[in-house]
């Protein structure tokens, strides 16, 4: 296996000092892979994700991203470090007072100040076309485009700085089956196009996870129940995993 882009070591988290949401997560996400983190609601998927992004500090344990223990970084250093991430949020989280084009230009204007306005527009245009968004939508506000287009814009924005790590936070939750498949394909195509980029998808969509991910980590009750390839999941004897796999097969 190649070196780890993200390494979680005995990661524990409690918000109130008593109940542990994460009870010791050990997980290594290989560089350049597309890894899906799956599990029932309330098993700690989003909490794991927020630790990877440095939005939460672990109660104990370590969160290493590209060899850096981000839980020990000072706030200003963490802010700079986050330029390595591109995130597609469940809601797309587009800035509603900016147009589609301005949303994609925003990270470039913030972090690539050496670029001319023309260069910024060129890069933004390139990213929007990469995710398959037509230029006629460039000057529309997020409220004027469909949910699928918002996801595409969110992905174009996440790609703007050419990040080392792409994170998808429940990208297909709440979407219809056709749109779900479109977003799944978009994630897969983007991953294939960007060799070397590590992608992490948090999802409870098993079908998508098994279809597009190189590796799958299944969480249960704040721990990693199983980590492996989709084939490892198919072969697993663990009862809960079997239930998941059967459900996944039924979808296929």
């Amino acid at each position: 296996m190649s070196e780890a882009a993200i390494r979680l070591v005995d990661l524990k988290k409690t918000f109130d000092g008593n109940d542990f949401v994460l009870k010791g997560i050990d997980l290594e996400i290989p560089k350049g892979s597309l890894t899906a983190v799956i599990g029932f609601s309330g098993t700690g998927k989003s909490v794991v994700l927020k630790h990877i992004l440095g939005l939460y500090k672990p109660t104990s344990g370590k969160v290493e991203v590209m060899g850096t223990d981000i839980s020990t970084l000072k706030p200003d250093d963490l802010t700079k470090f986050r330029c390595n991430f591109g995130v597609l949020f469940q809601s797309a989280a587009l800035f509603d007072d900016m147009t589609v084009l301005e949303n994609v230009c925003f990270p470039l204007l913030e972090h690539r100040r050496e670029l001319s306005k023309k260069q910024v527009l060129e890069i933004a245009d390139q990213k929007l076309r990469l995710v398959g968004l037509d230029s006629k939508h460039d000057h529309k506000l997020p409220s004027q485009i469909s949910g699928g287009m918002q996801k595409r814009t969110g992905l174009a924005r996440a790609l703007a700085l050419d990040p080392e790590i792409l994170i998808y936070d429940e990208p297909t939750t709440g979407l219809d089956p056709i749109l779900t498949e479109m977003v799944d394909n978009l994630i897969l195509d983007t991953h294939k196009l960007r060799e070397g980029t590590t992608s992490v998808m948090v999802s409870h969509d098993l079908y998508a996870a098994f279809r597009i991910a190189d590796y799958v980590a299944m969480l249960d009750a704040g721990r990693v129940l199983l980590w492996g390839t989709p084939k490892d999941f198919e072969k697993s004897d663990i009862e809960l995993v079997r239930k998941f796999v059967d459900k996944g097969m039924k979808h296929q």
């Binding site: 939005l55 802010t79 986050r82 330029c83 800035f95 509603d96």
Partner: protein, 266 residues
């Protein structure tokens, strides 16, 4: 009885903690003033919203405040045959108290409420999280420019309020109750000093700081969806207004003490 005392104690502890958090929040936001990149364009954008877009409502309210206040003072002063002091009385009252306080209350309700609602919506829609993970310092981008813009705009809006209120006073005295225009201006010139106006402008800058910190704090830490946004806006505006009125008294007292200490009376 114990329940009431416990409740009062808990509320006091909660309020003190919140004020402490707001002071830290302000400190962090001010620390970021000189951080790169420069937020000058954002400051201008917020000044346009807080200042320029508030001028209309400030002019309207100040005109009628000036008219109403002048009318009441005229009716009272006429009884004791001191109607020619209406101008300076209104000028002193408006420049030192009513101007900064009413401007603070109006702008807190209009711009402060909008700030809390905007930031609250950004929080519940994950837009602030998106900025965070994009490597943008959210306090430097969202909070610091709003605080600076509020502090800069409030004295300007208060100056507009003072001026328009005095226009209302002049109109009532000269055209509606037929006082002598020359006496009106000469009495104001005799009794109103620059320091009275500056005192009001100084207070208004503090009020700008208060409502900007309270409303951005409430909005920035909103939780709980649409209901949370409503609560953040409501609590932000109400607390700002209460603090403006309470602090006005203490600021006025401190200014009096300062005047006495440097030998100025009146």
């Amino acid at each position: 009885m114990m329940t009431v005392l416990t409740s009062v104690r808990n509320k006091t502890v909660e309020f003190t903690k919140e004020v402490g958090d707001m002071v830290l929040f302000l400190g962090e936001s001010l620390r970021l003033i000189r951080a790169k990149p420069s937020r000058f364009p954002e400051i201008i954008q917020h000044m346009e919203f807080i200042g320029n877009q508030s001028i209309g409502i400030i002019m309207l309210t100040s005109l009628f405040t000036g008219l109403a206040l002048s009318l009441q003072i005229y009716l009272g002063f006429k009884i004791v045959n001191m109607a020619n002091l209406v101008g300076p009385t209104v000028a002193l009252g408006v420049s030192r108290e009513l101007g900064p306080v009413l401007t603070g209350l109006i702008v807190a309700a209009r711009a402060g409420g909008a700030m809390a609602a905007r930031l609250g919506t950004m929080r519940v829609n994950e837009q602030i999280d998106a900025l965070d993970v994009m490597g943008v310092n959210t306090k430097q981008y969202l909070i610091t420019p709003r605080i600076i813009a509020a502090v800069l705009c409030m004295p300007l809006l208060t100056a507009v309020f003072d001026f328009v209120a005095m226009v209302g006073c002049w109109f009532l005295c000269v055209y509606l109750v037929d006082l002598d225009e020359a006496v009106f201006f000469s009495r104001i010139n005799d009794l109103l000093e620059l320091r009275h106006i500056m005192e009001g402008l100084f207070k208004s800058a503090i009020f700008g700081l208060i409502f900007a910190v309270v409303c951005t704090y409430r909005g920035f830490f909103t939780t709980g969806g649409a209901r949370g946004v409503g609560e953040a806006t409501n609590r932000g505006v109400v607390l700002s207004m209460v603090l403006i009125i309470v602090l006005d008294y203490f600021l006025s007292s401190l200014i009096r003490i300062f005047y006495i200490s440097v030998g100025i009376t009146g």
